[in-house]
Symmetry: C3
Subunit: 335 residues, 3 copies
Amino acid sequence: MDFTGSHILSIDQFERPDIEHIFRVADAMEPYASRRRVTRVLEGAILGNMFFEPSTRTRVSFGCAFNLLGGEVRETTGFESSAIAKGESLYDTARVLSGYSDVICMRHPQNGSVAEFAEASRVPVINGGDGSNEHPSQALLDLYTIRKEMAAKGKGLNGLRIAMIGDLKHGRTVHSLCRLLALFEGLQVTLVSPAELAMPEYLVELMRRAGHQVVVTDELTASISKVDIAYSTRIQEERFASKQEADLYRGRFRLNQQIYTQFCEPNTVIMHPLPRDSRAEANELDNDLNSNPNLAIFRQTDNGVLVRMALFAMVLDVVEQVDKHAQAVRWYSNR
Amino acid sequence: MDFTGSHILSIDQFERPDIEHIFRVADAMEPYASRRRVTRVLEGAILGNMFFEPSTRTRVSFGCAFNLLGGEVRETTGFESSAIAKGESLYDTARVLSGYSDVICMRHPQNGSVAEFAEASRVPVINGGDGSNEHPSQALLDLYTIRKEMAAKGKGLNGLRIAMIGDLKHGRTVHSLCRLLALFEGLQVTLVSPAELAMPEYLVELMRRAGHQVVVTDELTASISKVDIAYSTRIQEERFASKQEADLYRGRFRLNQQIYTQFCEPNTVIMHPLPRDSRAEANELDNDLNSNPNLAIFRQTDNGVLVRMALFAMVLDVVEQVDKHAQAVRWYSNR
Amino acid sequence: MDFTGSHILSIDQFERPDIEHIFRVADAMEPYASRRRVTRVLEGAILGNMFFEPSTRTRVSFGCAFNLLGGEVRETTGFESSAIAKGESLYDTARVLSGYSDVICMRHPQNGSVAEFAEASRVPVINGGDGSNEHPSQALLDLYTIRKEMAAKGKGLNGLRIAMIGDLKHGRTVHSLCRLLALFEGLQVTLVSPAELAMPEYLVELMRRAGHQVVVTDELTASISKVDIAYSTRIQEERFASKQEADLYRGRFRLNQQIYTQFCEPNTVIMHPLPRDSRAEANELDNDLNSNPNLAIFRQTDNGVLVRMALFAMVLDVVEQVDKHAQAVRWYSNR
């Protein structure tokens, strides 16, 4: 696809070469994200960082990615506006706000809202999450992390063995990851959940049609014993009828250092879309894993900045110019 | 007036040459707002964008205007602060915040509060709306849009025929627009509203004293049949005693494409201060007008950026220097 | 201490030479804060301005200080995030957010939270206030102001006579100030409060051990008659069991121009950590003092910008380079 001027709304837009293109650009952003270099390529450009639902992590990550390319960020951090209460349509909001910025990142609680907004927008719109529907940059940073972690171990995505663990019924991130993985071939995918929280059947089918070997199970320790990646997820309490119902499942499939040592291969990489639930009753990834070098959960969020920089640079067509407007950092940086 | 270092609190500050001065500077901002050029003239300057009442649209518009001149924006987006709850006076707030920035834009729910704040401030203050009192940049962008739309049709403001429609009793924007129009001569002004929501008599008198021909009516279709501008407004529900009372008037004076085609002259320009109420029960400007090239409502908000850039540049005395610190944009821009 | 890469969590980190070092750097920031010059030394750097409790004044002051050094600010203005509601630990929040910025300023309602956050952070963290515990930049700006006010009168800190007045039991700022003053020698400190709101005994002891002469009293007028500095404070209503209990003390120890003229030496400097409570029932510093040139309360907040610029420049190790990347301001500035 041609990224220049395009909206980024869904991972379904991408074919495998597009994914690989994004990942190459993300790799090229590394000197800037790690503060070895500074670029001003987007000097004067404005990101409209429109979060109509609060999300500190994602909002700051997008804003930071834009700043790292030299641009400015104007933002909103929740339903502060009374315009919608006064009956304003998404069409009007989009037309107005797109007059203020060069690109918009938008999060909104309602499924499909970002696509509707994008249709009226006069500038490219990146979906920062629309309800339970899509959050494409999260899916991309997950796959980017998998690729990078595998590469660090001298492997590619071919033959990848991955287990997804937890609430696979409600987890938007694992759904998106399955759809991205279906662009590749020959993977071994193990889906570990209580039967009631199983991965939707259509996604299992999608991966099988792509030629992957898919195992569905509710047995944790056997499942994580022969995988490259153990991708843990949180119980999505907010999607259950009640806290009580969610509590039935909370704390199943806990992973900690003792289980890791006993059951996993030495280099198994642990991932999680965050936030992880660190309360005693849930604790799906114990804090005693924090010093485990294979815990990749914070490399995931770091990679998110690279992927978001790549999307901005591609949509605004400045990939080739990033290095031209660069210099070394002047300040202390220990990263 | 000398704009350098001045507060912009009310349209009553301006005489006709001041308005024309602002509009000339706004015209000169166009290459920057449309992203053909980028200027860094305000590099290092800080706007204190102090919104003590939420307003995404206006807040982002001011912030964006300042960014487009190369400055930085620090802001507040509502009554987050506990300082006022702790008994802090507006005087103290102003003295403190004015130590942090080079210019302040302030919105506040209380009439007169911005002028009180400005008196204590050590930097210029621009009124971003104080209750039902003033919102001078909105009035300026309305008149600027009228001038620009007329110019595009080869006309000037002389002999302008304008209808204002809807809740003319409570609408702050139409009140301000009347006061601005009173600086000009020989206009034909038609005021269309239910009798209960009529334009205040002192404003009708003001326009008549200026030599305008003013017609007061509650008849829509006849009124819009011979005008250059049809300026529609929303029922200001929040100013009524109850929603029920507001509902009595909602949905009167609807304008849609069918009515436009049947009653308006071919080039009648449609304006609205936004937000327009798109709910079925109100719908003062139907969405079927969205593809009508004479619907100028989004050109109004775009023009708002130009007018706000002009105010910042004039108050901070950098008008002459904007172009000196400019370059072409580097990134994709489809505007 | 070596400031490069260090967290700034508590004034207990500092010895006297460190304080003097900070103050020398703050002095050097003056041309930038007063807008005679602009520096871009931190171009490309990002401050994560993480306010998990609202505070317009402190948040904007830190953000402004970072902007004045040329850096960008990403921020959060309250507990918007649902991540913590979803059970995320401070460790995870810190690891994630520290991947987005070069330095973090954090305010949080919970005592000790900022230190816990800093332990997990990969970048330097500056404590912007953690509950009733610490707010080191406030303490520094208070002492910096005292030093500067004394210098303007040709005096040093030696032999300083200071009265602290009001709710000395709950006031975090006066507690911190006492601890800083304990690094110096030979001061005369008068502590004026109702017996029930007296300065904690351990702080009185600390100052006595430092060799200061400390008087504890509930008598205002005698106490302020022979001091260089009268440091007034607000009744910390939120720390009382009830508003009624706080009301018992509100309005005691009021200072106004008439009392000042009658009892104070001509050049006594009046300070207050702000916000001051200007409601009639409290009014600890009357507005009739606003034109008194010895009212230093707004010089305090102005000095806060200098001190915060100094902390950023020292922690990021750019003190020597600030001037190298500087130029004169281009815009109107009346300060």
